[in-house]
Amino acid sequence: MSRLLTRLKSLDRRILYGALLAAVLLFPIVVRNDYWISTLVFFGIWAILGLSLNIIVGYAGLFQLGHAAFWAVGAYTTAILNIYYKVPILVCLPISALVAAFFAIIISRPILHLRGDYLCIVTIGFGEIVRLFLYNDPFKITGGVNGLRGIARPSIFGLEINTPTAYYYYVLFFVIITIIVMQRLENSRLGRAWNYVREDETAAEAMGIDTVKVKLLAFALGAAWAGVAGNIYASRYTVIAPETFSFWNSVIMFCIVVLGGSGSIPGVFVGTLGMIVLPEVLKSILSSILEWRLLIFGIAMVVMMIFRPEGLWPHSRYRLELRREETSS
């Protein structure tokens, strides 16, 4: 398995990515199966979520096990604005991102100094508080346990996006934009600052990096992007409910990042494939072992971490390391 991956990785990058792009663009035309197209739309939304969490966990190395909360803030902001105030979906998009970012800044500021494991628990806590807030609905705007329904579809210049194929290209557009933005951030001063904070926060601070600001930016950006995913999700399924934004889904997002190879963009896609698409694929093929799905899942997580703690597709700077290990063993 790992030799296959190594071979794949050493192929001329441009050929590989070119072929991939072509396949991705042509997919709905070649495969006229709405179920699979919708699955890929789902995959795309989750990939964006994974990439957003990748900023916080992968780049900045901060524990975040409550990321679904930011996703929820984005989705519910869109839903509330759209249902009660008739704000068009595409206008809700940047607003949702900003609200999520703002929310992230407020809750993360007091807890930024916490060490890894504590931050872990606190983020779980925030995730649950948000979910409980949505569930209990104290201000009567979130729809409680049933959530909100009747969210509109996005429309561009009067053209509404409401078929699987249309959604496919709509989400693909966002995925590509996200990849481009992430790539640029990765190779920028800010991206490097995140790496320094992840590797050794004290040393980073001593080298002149404002670690508080850098960490806040990680949370804010990660949240903003999750908010975008929330907007897309809300309008795609037109119904949202608190149970979607659960700790379980936060765990899945976290695993997508870590199992894929934290800090690595291709890694996030591999991780999403493994955590989201694979179970879907297995579901239809092996419906008899549906019950065993989660058990296998849990065991697979443990096995993965033992045999490949750096993830399936770690960041390119480690490739030299791993190639050395692989050739020597």
Partner: protein
């Protein structure tokens, strides 16, 4: 006026007084050494000056400006850089990336500039890479740009840490036991380096146990023992100072 002035610096941890009423100054362009038996409080003095924690009492002034209450990154921005007693590189990052860290506070591309890749940002990135390579070559690490820091041999790791600190373009470079663990050849190279840096206009403040190094390159030396400053003077004066001799010989070597 001295470049760095420390007056009545005091710091306790729980019941232990690590630094007790220590005063000294650092003149621009000089090489000041700080010696003392283990546990004398030397690294604590470094940590206080660089803002890792605040002093209980006392003043620290850099160029007349008080450093107390400032965060470490602000102090670095003002022009004081340091290395650590136990090397604190970014182990899973490359040599290049490590050195670029020092350039962070001297550049300014922010979030939007990075996403939009403005012309100014792209030029700044080019500047950062070029500058980093300069420091890498200056410290003799040429050819190792893409090695992970954790894979470097010890001596080169120490050089990398200095390269990274230099990249912040400091006025004062504080080195915490730079000669620890180095062999004879490496130590003599280190002494040449420090002299070269001083000639470039950087003020050096170093903690060191290796007497050959300290006596060899320091213009002045201060001696700490048990949190107190017990002596100050030229290397010759310190070597003859009975209190200093007692502090070292009265304890385990």
């Amino acid at each position: 006026m001295a470049l760095l002035e420390v007056k009545n610096l005091t710091k306790s941890f729980g019941g232990l007084v690590a630094v007790n009423d220590v005063s000294f100054h650092l003149n621009e362009g000089e090489i000041l050494g700080m010696i003392g038996p283990n546990g004398a409080g030397k690294t604590t003095v470094f940590n206080l000056i660089t803002g890792i924690f605040p002093p209980d009492k006392g003043e620290i002034r850099f160029n007349g400006r008080s450093l107390i209450g400032l965060r470490p990154h602000q102090i670095t921005e003002l022009g004081i850089a340091r290395t650590f007693q136990t090397i604190r590189l970014f182990p899973n990052l490359t040599v290049m990336e490590n050195v670029m860290a020092g350039l962070h506070c001297r550049t300014k591309a922010g979030l939007w500039a990075s996403i939009l890749q403005t012309k100014a940002q792209r030029e700044e990135e080019k500047f950062i890479r070029e500058k980093a390579l300069e420091y890498i070559h200056f410290m003799g690490l040429g050819g190792l740009e893409f090695e992970l820091a954790k894979n470097l041999p010890f001596g080169l790791q120490k050089r990398l840490e200095i390269a990274r600190a230099l990249a912040t373009n400091p006025r004062v470079l504080m080195l915490d036991e730079p000669a620890a663990g180095l062999n004879e050849q490496e130590t003599s190279e280190l002494m040449d380096l420090i002299a070269k840096l001083r000639d470039k206009g950087i003020t050096i403040f170093l903690i060191e146990h290796d007497m050959k190094v300290v006596m060899g390159i320091s213009e002045r030396i201060i001696v700490l023992d048990n949190g107190y400053k017990i002596a100050e003077g030229t290397p010759e004066e310190i070597q003859r100072n009975p209190r200093v001799i007692e502090a070292y010989l009265g304890k385990e070597e």
